[in-house]
Amino acid sequence: MKLPLLFITLFITSANLVAKPLHFGETVKEEQVTPISKLLETPENHVGKKVTVSGTIVGVCQKRGCWVDLASDKRFQKLRLKVRDGDMVFPLHTKGRKAIATGTMNAIPLSLPQTKHYLASLAKRDGEKFDPESVTEPMSIYQVVPVGVKILD
């Protein structure tokens, strides 16, 4: 008796998964959107502050759905929304859809070796040559920890 009931529950939840648009967490403050390019001009000024951003989803964590990358309004730029595993699970099939998110900006400071490793991986992805010796200063990666995300059609 329990097993058929379980399967009915599972199929009901699957219907919810494909419903559009998708909402996660709290309501987003759509009227307070700041362009990603503006945030990333002086990211350190926004660390620890609540921000609302929007953009096309151009990357999703394939295994756990624990992050999405939003394309910036500026070319070659993107901003990651990162949640603790399980807090929100972003479906892989949302790539290419627009999203609006409200959350806190945070910084991940990298050490110099980590910075070199990070930049080397970007260069490898782009098929470019990379000289680790050219990097002399460590950098930080900026991301938003969202409390609310709305994924549009």
Partner: protein
């Protein structure tokens, strides 16, 4: 009188163990299968099947985006509408389609990769339950399930009498072994 009482509790424990065991079968299957899948998430994506097709392409990046898109679609014989496009870097251009399919063009290597994603039929739902993505309502039910498991473990100690009893010399070592392995992992 004492013997009757002992038999009563013994039989009640066995009946309860049986029925709680039956009740727990469904969820045990869900948690066990998703547990295996999630343990091996680095080797196997339990939620999606991703099919990749890679092709060499010859496209000039100086062309307008519309022409690059047209060329890419032609190379992969794709008729579907492009939902969005994005230049990730000077050398990486991405196209997005409905259902989350992606076509990535690496201009430096003159190759493109088409990734088609398809949600697996049952496993994602098992994982969703296992990882408690459904949150509040599910917490109550999974708490009940956890209590059932505790009861099954404790009541198992009193299921068998005689030489094969759980706390006897012949089978007691199995309980000790089951406790020893996690204990070792804590201290190693």
């Amino acid at each position: 009188m004492i013997k009757f009482k002992r038999n009563f509790w013994f039989k009640l424990n066995r009946s309860l163990h049986r029925d709680v065991g039956y009740f727990s079968i469904g969820l045990t299957i869900v948690f066990a299968i998703s547990g295996l899948a999630l343990n091996h998430i680095r080797d196997f994506n339990p939620n999606y099947q991703v099919t990749r097709i890679e092709k060499p392409v010859q496209i000039d990046v100086e062309l307008k985006d519309e022409l690059i898109i047209k060329n890419l679609l032609k190379n992969f014989d794709l008729k579907r509408a492009v939902k969005a496009s994005y230049w990730e870097s000077k050398h990486v251009f991405k196209l997005f389609f409905d259902e989350g399919h992606t076509l990535t063009f690496h201009s430096g290597q003159q190759k493109a990769l088409f990734e088609m994603i398809e949600a697996r039929p049952i496993l994602p739902h098992f994982n969703r339950l296992h990882l408690n993505e459904a949150k509040h309502g599910w917490i109550v039910f999974s708490d009940i399930y956890a209590i059932c498991l505790l009861y099954l473990a404790i009541s198992a100690l009193f299921m068998v009498r005689g030489k094969h009893r759980a706390l006897g010399r012949r089978r007691g070592w199995l309980i000790a072994l089951g406790a020893l392995v996690p204990t070792l992992y804590i201290f190693i």
